[in-house]
């Protein structure tokens, strides 16, 4: 093994470098220091952000974004029951048959989850589905326009943590 200086042994990269006065300034890197007042201000900023994130986790909800709780996959799902997903079906152009249509931002300007979350409002006011047809016409002017839209609820039945193969479908709301 070749000569290896001690300094190569991965020093703690976040440890502040002391700068004794006696050392040749060429050897030591220059250090840009912060004043005490500025440090206090920055520490307070960080403390404020931390407090907001903590409060969001303990008490907040999604509307607190960006300080809401970090609940990726935080909800429990019963091992036996059903996984629910919504889809939309449309009648486009002269077609008289309901056909599944993509429920995505590129197709209607909204994601599936966003439409799923508004199902109570949609059932109360099915005209909201008409806005999907309008958005679709603006986003995809080349496609045949949708003259009817409906939301279908699809349940994938689970037993002991795996799908049984049974799928239940129900129409939730329909426009016009």
């Amino acid at each position: 093994v070749r000569f290896v200086p001690d300094i190569v042994k991965q020093p703690d990269i976040m440890t502040p470098v002391e700068q004794p006065d006696t050392v040749d300034p060429v050897e030591q890197p220059e250090i840009l220091r912060l004043s005490g007042a500025r440090k206090t201000l920055l520490a307070l900023l960080l403390a404020g952000l931390s407090a907001l994130f903590l409060a969001g986790t303990v008490r907040g909800d999604d509307t607190w974004w960006p300080f809401g709780p970090w609940r990726m996959f935080a909800t429990s799902t019963a091992p036996s029951g059903a996984v629910v997903a919504m889809r939309i079906e449309v009648m486009a152009g002269d077609d008289a048959i309901w056909r599944p249509a993509p429920l995505s931002v590129r197709s209607v300007g909204l994601t599936r989850a966003e439409v799923e979350g508004r199902v109570p409002r949609i059932t109360a006011d099915p005209a909201m589905l008409g806005t999907l047809a309008r958005s679709h016409a603006r986003l995809r002017p080349g496609d045949p326009p949708w003259r009817a839209v409906r939301v279908v609820r699809e349940e994938t039945v689970l037993a002991d943590g795996s799908p049984t193969g049974e799928i239940r479908s129900t129409t939730v709301a329909s426009w016009p």
Binding site: V4, I13, M14, S50, G68, S76, T77, S135, G161
Partner: protein, 309 residues
């Protein structure tokens, strides 16, 4: 007490090479460009959604932000790109940084104010707010090795936030899912909803998904340990997290991209860059003296840092 305070201040404001913050900033602003143009487009398409679907968040009520329009989303999208490109150039670091922060955060707001909030993008807000505070820094500072306490503070803040996402998401799992979360079918649900080849294989062996939940919450609760271990283990823990996110991606097709960029704040980026440059220099001219370390594998502890050759 004063000694403790000094130790705390030294920990929060370590003097780190300016080049490191310059590399992190490059990664962050390059990600912003990639993100608004390719990865995260729901905010953009909300410009075409009817305002009846708009559900203002607290931030929007406070700042009176309007529902999205095509004009607004185009301005925010291209404003993010322009500001981030200016930030990448290293010119006007503070102005570019603040503009990027405002444009990107507003663009995310538009994405989330229609009923669905993604939970992987909040920590990146801190990176964008903190980066301008570091001020001027260029990757060329690797040669001068200038160190800065402001840069060290920004790195610390990004590190703390990145680890907080792990720890606090464990908290959220217990808060919303209860302690029974670890034994529930959450991962089964995730795989059923957004399956993949690997996920489907795991679905046939349900205990693997169940075990994954135990491993996940344990790792999240232990994540703050990264601040007490030494450099050697710190780098390996970061690598471990990247591996974990790769597995998650393989199983359910989800990657917390902004968070992956945040985790770079734990690494000595300027050393990697200098080492990479030195290796390229070595390879090009086939001088006998230039390959003195050719037998040492990359990343080995025996390998000299570029600055010491």
């Amino acid at each position: 007490v004063s000694g403790l305070l000094r130790a705390g201040t030294g920990w929060l404001f370590p003097a780190v090479p300016l080049a490191r913050i310059a590399w992190l900033r490059r990664a962050v602003y390059a990600f912003v460009v990639l993100d608004v143009l390719v990865l995260h487009s729901s905010g953009y398409y909300h410009g075409w959604a009817d305002p009846v679907w708009y559900q203002p968040l607290a931030m929007g009520r406070l700042l009176r932000l309007p529902a999205a329009s095509v004009l607004l989303v185009e301005v925010l999208r291209w404003g993010s790109v322009a500001a981030a490109v200016l930030g990448l150039s290293g010119r006007l670091p503070r102005t570019a940084g603040w503009l990027t922060a405002v444009a990107w955060i507003w663009f995310q707001y538009v994405a989330f104010a229609y009923g669905k909030v993604d939970h992987d993008r909040a920590d990146f807000v801190v990176a964008l707010i903190m980066l301008p505070l570091a001020g001027a820094a260029s990757v060329g500072d690797a040669t001068s090795k200038t160190r800065s306490e402001a840069a060290g503070f920004v790195l610390r803040a990004v590190q703390l936030t990145a680890i907080a996402t792990y720890f606090l998401s464990a908290w959220a799992k217990v808060r919303f899912g209860g302690w029974g979360w670890v034994n529930s079918a959450t991962m089964v649900r995730a795989v059923v909803r957004r399956g993949s080849w690997l996920g489907d294989q795991m679905l046939h062996v349900p205990w693997t998904l169940h075990a994954f939940q135990w491993v996940l919450i344990s790792l999240e609760l232990l994540s703050p340990l990264i601040f007490v271990v030494g450099e050697y283990w710190r780098r390996r823990m970061v690598a471990g997290w990247y591996l974990f996110h790769l597995m998650t991606y393989a199983a359910i097709g989800i990657a917390f991209y902004p968070h992956l960029v945040m985790m770079l704040a734990f690494l000595p980026l300027e050393e990697y860059a200098a080492g990479w440059r030195a290796r390229r220099r070595e390879r090009r001219p086939a001088q006998p003296g230039g390959t003195e370390q050719a037998g040492v594998p990359p990343g080995s502890r025996l390998r000299l840092r570029a600055t010491q050759r």
